[in-house]
């Protein structure tokens, strides 16, 4: 199943790269009459400005994937830094980090995203920051939990006894052993990121026009569901496929990193 997920993701990445290479045409150019169903010249139809939907979906995939990947990477780095330090050191530092995480956690995700977008002004930076802030609490918590467990392992104690300094212990011993948690959680965060980007765009706080993102396309397509269903079909399917694929890959990753036994009740 996770091979299927990877395949889907690979196709999406190809899509995005194709858009960068100009395949499919200029996503912003007005190429034909408005709201045309799929046909030659516009293989996925045209939108309400007479633009071809195909290059827009391709651009949208790229924007959304890139945005969420960068955001999740940031989340991973920050969560790793804070989670590991808090988990290993404990004490006041831990208290402080956990309290901050709790504060962020207490904000409903999309409200947090809206506030960030309102403060920073809509656009990629805001979407990026929103995704980071929304995904960071859970990730930090889990990394911290894993770091606490790892800190009590004998090999960490051995390293300390050998006289290893803090950075060495954290980088050589704790980090590699919480990396699995980070990776698995990262895939889930990625799907959350995509959803947050979509939600923000839906509420009008997303990327700037004319740039397309999946969220923007779906938001626009949604209003034309009756008149031009092809507007939402393409991006909708791609968005769901992307999140699903990422989740499936995440599940696969977890099964691989933390294989579990099963037992029947009979």
């Amino acid at each position: 199943m996770s091979a299927g997920g990877l395949a889907v993701l690979a196709v999406l990445v190809l899509f995005a790269l194709g858009s960068l290479a100009g395949a499919g045409g200029d996503p912003d150019a007005i190429v034909g009459p408005r709201l045309q169903p799929p046909g030659p010249g516009w293989w996925l139809g045209t939108d309400n400005l007479g633009r071809s939907v195909l290059p827009r979906v391709m651009e949208g995939v790229g924007t959304t994937l890139l945005l969420s990947s960068i955001a999740v990477l940031l989340t991973a780095v920050l969560s790793a830094a804070f989670g590991i330090l808090a988990g290993y050191r404990g004490g006041y530092l831990n208290e402080l980090v956990m309290r901050l995480v709790e504060v962020l956690y207490s904000f409903p995700a999309i409200v947090l995203a809206i506030l960030v977008a309102a403060v920073l002004g809509p656009g990629q930076t805001a979407a990026l920051a929103s995704i980071v802030l929304v995904t960071i609490p859970l990730m930090t918590r889990l990394v911290r939990g894993a770091a606490v467990a790892v800190s009590q392992r004998d090999y960490v104690t051995s390293a300390v006894i050998s006289g290893a300094r803090l950075p060495r212990v954290l980088v050589r011993h704790v980090l590699p052993n919480v990396a699995g948690t980070i990776a698995v959680q990262g895939t889930y965060a990625l799907s959350v990121g995509i959803a947050v980007e979509g939600g923000l765009s839906f509420l009008g706080f997303g990327v700037q026009p004319p740039q397309a993102s999946l969220g923007v396309l779906i938001q626009q397509g949604g209003t034309y569901m009756i008149a031009a269903p092809w507007l939402i079909l393409g991006p909708g399917v791609v968005l769901v496929a992307a999140i699903l694929a990422i989740n499936v890959v995440g599940d696969g990753l977890r099964d691989r990193l933390e294989p579990r036994e099963t037992r029947s009740l009979t």
Partner: protein, 245 residues
């Protein structure tokens, strides 16, 4: 004396604030380990053995009492002791970093000291009965006994004067236990380190220790020569322990 614990008490506070329970994990414990000597430490679960070892390793500061290593109190900075004391800990499964190759694990104490003697690592692996080709393996490719051998190699690679074995063989199979115990004995004969050997298995302790200390409820209730202890235990509790053997 390589290690002297003098009247050491360790008190833990547990539970929520305002309603802390204070618990003496060690109460007025005095112990000495002489150069080249192996001191066995036995006692039931929760009697304070691990706490004692942590105090001996300088990982736990005593609430009261003094600890001297090599005649001096513990330095403020751990690094000054780097390479001079080591430990082999209980759980073979977690004794090695699963993300590091065996060779890297064994080399770590050297790295910390800034030394890079690659052949010291392979030499040490040979010494503990593992071929040099083990250096490239990951811990999950090893059996429990092999992992404990790697831990021992890591502990010995800097030729420390003092090693703590905290339940180092308890998790192993009897037949593997004997391999490891033999190995410890052989290496000690060769390198002459002192050791604190902790176990709740009196059989294992008898096999390697020169002297034995018995702990109960945080206190040392008896210290004696191994032979004396097993033939004529003085304390009532020691007698009980020996009966169960």
């Amino acid at each position: 004396m390589i290690l002297e614990l003098d009247d050491v008490t360790v008190t833990f506070a547990a539970g929520p604030p305002f309603r802390r329970i204070h618990l003496d994990a060690m109460r007025r414990v005095s112990l000495q380990v002489a150069e080249g000597e192996t001191l066995g430490l036995v006692g039931e679960s929760g009697s304070g053995k691990t706490t004692t070892s942590r105090v001996a390793l300088g990982l736990q500061r005593p609430t009261s009492g003094t600890v001297r290593f090599d005649g001096r109190p513990f330095p403020k900075r751990r690094r000054e002791l780097a390479g001079r004391m080591q430990a082999v800990l209980q759980h073979p499964h977690w004794s090695l970093n699963p993300r590091m190759r065996v060779g890297q694990s064994v080399a770590e104490p050297l790295d910390v000291l800034g030394r890079t003697e690659r052949n010291a690592v392979t030499e040490m692996l040979e010494h503990v009965g593992l071929g040099a080709d083990f250096a490239d393996r990951y811990p999950h490719e090893l059996s429990g006994g092999q992992r404990q051998r790697v831990s021992i190699a890591r502990a010995l690679v800097t030729r420390p004067g003092f090693i703590v074995f905290d339940e180092a063989v308890s998790a192993l199979d009897v037949s593997v236990q004997v391999q490891i115990l033999n190995l410890i004995k052989d290496l000690q004969a060769e390198y002459g380190f002192s050791a604190l050997f902790i176990s709740h298995d009196l059989g294992a302790v008898r096999y390697v220790a020169d002297r034995i200390a018995v702990m109960r409820g945080g206190e040392v209730v008896e210290t004696a020569d191994t032979r004396t202890f097993y033939t004529a235990p003085a304390h009532e509790y020691s007698k009980q322990l020996l009966e169960a053997l």
